[in-house]
Amino acid sequence: MQKYSIFSLIKNALAYHEGWEKVWRSPEPKSEYDVVIIGGGGHGLATAFYLAKEHGITNVAVIEKGWLGGGNTGRNTTIIRSNYLWDESAAMYEKSLQLYEGLSQELNFNIMLSQRGVLNLAHNLSDLREIERRVSANRLNGIDSEILNTQEIKEFVPIINDSPNSRYPVLGGSLQRRAGTARHDAVAWGFARGADTRGVDIIQQCEVTGIRQSRGKVTGVETTKGLIKAKKVGVVVAGHSSMLADMAGFRLPVNSYPLQALVSEPVKPVLDTVVMSNTVHVYVSQSDKGEMVLGAGIDGAHGYTQRGSLHVIEGQLGALCELFPIFSRLRMMRQWGGIVDTCPDASPIVGKTPIGGLFINCGWGTGGFKGTPGSGWAFAHTLATGEPHELNAPFNLDRFTTGALIDEHGAAAVAH
Amino acid sequence: MVDGYLRQSPLAHLHLDARAANDINVTDAGLMLGERRHVGMINLRGEPADPAFAAAVKKAVGVALPDGINRSSGKPLSIHILALGPDEWLIVCPPGTEDSIFGKMTKAMKPLHAAVTMSSEARTVIQLAGTDARNGLAKGCPLDLHPRAFGPGQCAQSILGRADILIHQTGSNAGSSDASYDLFVLRSFAEYVWTWLEDAGREYGVKVFSPAEK
C-alpha cells in the first residue's frame, strides 16, 4: 500500500500527481471464499477490514450491487455520537466512537473526524426529563454528556432563537462534546483501502441474485457474475435487508422507509456544532464547504424510492426557521433520499440467522453511520468465530421472540 | 348547554370588533377576515342508506342531507348541513338556535341507529372573503381550491398551515376571483390560524370585518 503522508504528497506533487496508485483493485471474483460479505457500504467494508486486521481472515470478498458507499453511507448527514440510553446501545455506539477517534491513523486515510459536539435540544418538560435521564445513564456508562440550560446553549450556539415566546422554546439540552461529524465517503473509502491492502477482494457492479444452501447451511451466493462459493456469508445491505432475507428464506422484523436529507447553498461559517431537535424535528450542521446539512424524520409510508415526500422536508425547514431565524432566506441546493431499515425497537440486528453460516447486520434505521466501525468490528468477530461478541450479542434476531427489546426510540433522535 | 354569559370566543383577546370598526373605510384589501362567534354545531352520525334517517333529519332540521360527501345543503348563515364523511354530518345553525335543534334531533333520532352530539363550543368560524381569499388559503392548504375543483356548496376537511380545518365555500362572484369561505377551526388553534391568515394576506391587504348574523 502506498502510504499517505506529507512526504508522499510532496513526492507526487513533483511528479505532477501522475504517480498515485489506485486506492483499491477491481478484481474478478474467485470461485470460492472463506467469507463473502454482501454489501459494500460502510458497515460491509468495515466488517471486511476488521476480519482481515483483527482475525487474519483475508480470503474475503465484498460484493456490491452498485458502487462503494453509494447507498446510505453516501446519503447520511455524517453525524457521530454515542449518547444512547440503554447499556447495550451505549456500549456499541461508544465502541464505535472510540474506533472513529483513531480511525484516520489506523487507516492512514483522513476521515475528517470533527469532534465539534452534538447538542440535543429540549422544548418541553417531558424532553427535559428525558434528557436528564439519558445524560445520567450516559455518565454511568462513562460517556461524556452534560446538560446545558438555555443561556449556556445561547452562548454555545449564538445564532439559535432562544426567545421564550416561540411555540417550542429552547428550555435546555444535552451536549456530547466528543460527538461530531466525519466525512462519510472517506469512511467507506478508507475501510475499502485498508481491506483491499490486506487481500480482500472488493467486487463492484455485482448483484446477488440468490443464496445457495444445503441442509440448512449456506454454501455460496449466486450473483450476476456467477456462483461464488463461501463457507460463511454476511448480509450487510441497508435498504434491502428484507429482500436478501426473502432470498435466504427467513423473515426480518424490518420496515423500510425513505429518509431525506438536504443541503443549502454554502455560506460563511455560522454554526460550529451539530444541533438536533426531536420535538420540532430537524437536525443541522455546517459542512466544511459551508453548506448547511439538514435532516429529519422518515417518510410516513414504506417505500424504496430513495426520494421521499416534499411535505416531510417542508416541515423540517419550518422547524429550521423556527430554531434559526437567520436561515430564513437560505436557499436549498440539493435533496435526496436513502432507504432506512427500521426495527420495532429502533435498534439494529447484528448476529446469527436461522441459516447456518449466514449472518446478518441490518436494521440500523436512521443512525447507521455513527455505528459503522463498531458494527464492522463486532460483526467481523461474529463472522470469524461463528458467535456474537458480547457487544452485539444483545442485538440478536431472537430478541423479538424473547421480548428482550432495546428500545432506543428516544435516543434515536430521528423518528422511526 | 353553556350559560350565555360565560361564552367567550377563542379570539376575544384580539378585539376584532374594534379592528373592524377601524378598518371600515378600507377599500383596497384583497383578503377580508371576520369571526362568526358562537355558531351552533351539531355532529350527526347515521346510516345514509336508511330512508327513514334522511327523512327524520329533514323533518327535524328543516334542511335535507347534502347529495354527497364534502357537499353542503341549506343556506350559509342560516341552518345548513355539511357532509363530513360517508356517515357523518355537521349541522350548522345560527347562534342561539342550537339547543332547540339539538332537542328536536335527539328526539327524531331516538328510534334510529344514529348519534347526535353537541359540539358548538369546539370550534369557531372564521369567514374569508375578497378577491384574494382563495390565494391566501392556497398558501397553506393542500386542497385544490381552483373553481373547476372547488366551488360554492362544497366543503372539505383538510389542513391549513399544519392545523386541522373544515372549509366550506359559501359564495363566489362570476367573472371575478371573488370567493367567500367559512373556515371551521378548533378552539385551541383559532389564534394560530387567524394570525397565520393575517400573515398570508399581508401582500394582498387585509381588512377585518364583523360578519352579519341572521
Binding site: 422484523p253 420496515n255 423500510s256 410516513g300 414504506h302 | 360527501i69
Partner: protein
C-alpha cells in the same frame, strides 16, 4: 408527495393522510394459546415488499376514515384503493406494475429505438 385517492373524498395530498402499516393482519383469536414465536410473528413480522404492497391508510385530516391501498413501493404507483374489510381487487393485484422493479431506465440517445 403522493396524491392519494381517498375512497370517500377523492384525490387528496399525502399530508392529509397517515399510513397504518400492512393490511389484512388478523389478531389471533386466542393469544394465550400462541407460542412466543407465533406471538412475535403477529407483533413484529411484517411484509416489507419491494413492489406490490397492501397497506392501511387513514384520511387523518380529512374524513378520518380508514381504507386499504395497493401500492408499488418501488415506484409509488397506487394500484387500487378498497374499503376496510374488503379483499384487494384481483384485477389490480394481478396487473403487472407499470414500471418494472429494479430495471434500469431505457437507453436514450445513440442506439435507442426511434
Amino acid at each position: 408527495m403522493l396524491l392519494i385517492p381517498c375512497p370517500f373524498c377523492g384525490e387528496r395530498e399525502e399530508s392529509e393522510f397517515h399510513q397504518g402499516g400492512e393490511a389484512h393482519i388478523v389478531r389471533p383469536k386466542d393469544p394465550d394459546e400462541l407460542s412466543d414465536a407465533e406471538w412475535a410473528d403477529y407483533l413484529f413480522l411484517r411484509k416489507n415488499t419491494k413492489g406490490l404492497f397492501l397497506e392501511r391508510w387513514v384520511h387523518l385530516h380529512g374524513c378520518r376514515r380508514w381504507f386499504n391501498m395497493a401500492r408499488n413501493t418501488a415506484t409509488n404507483e397506487i394500484i387500487a384503493v378498497y374499503k376496510m374489510g374488503a379483499q384487494p381487487p384481483k384485477a389490480a393485484i394481478n396487473k403487472p406494475p407499470k414500471t418494472a422493479v429494479d430495471k434500469p431506465p431505457k437507453a436514450v440517445g445513440k442506439g435507442a429505438k426511434k
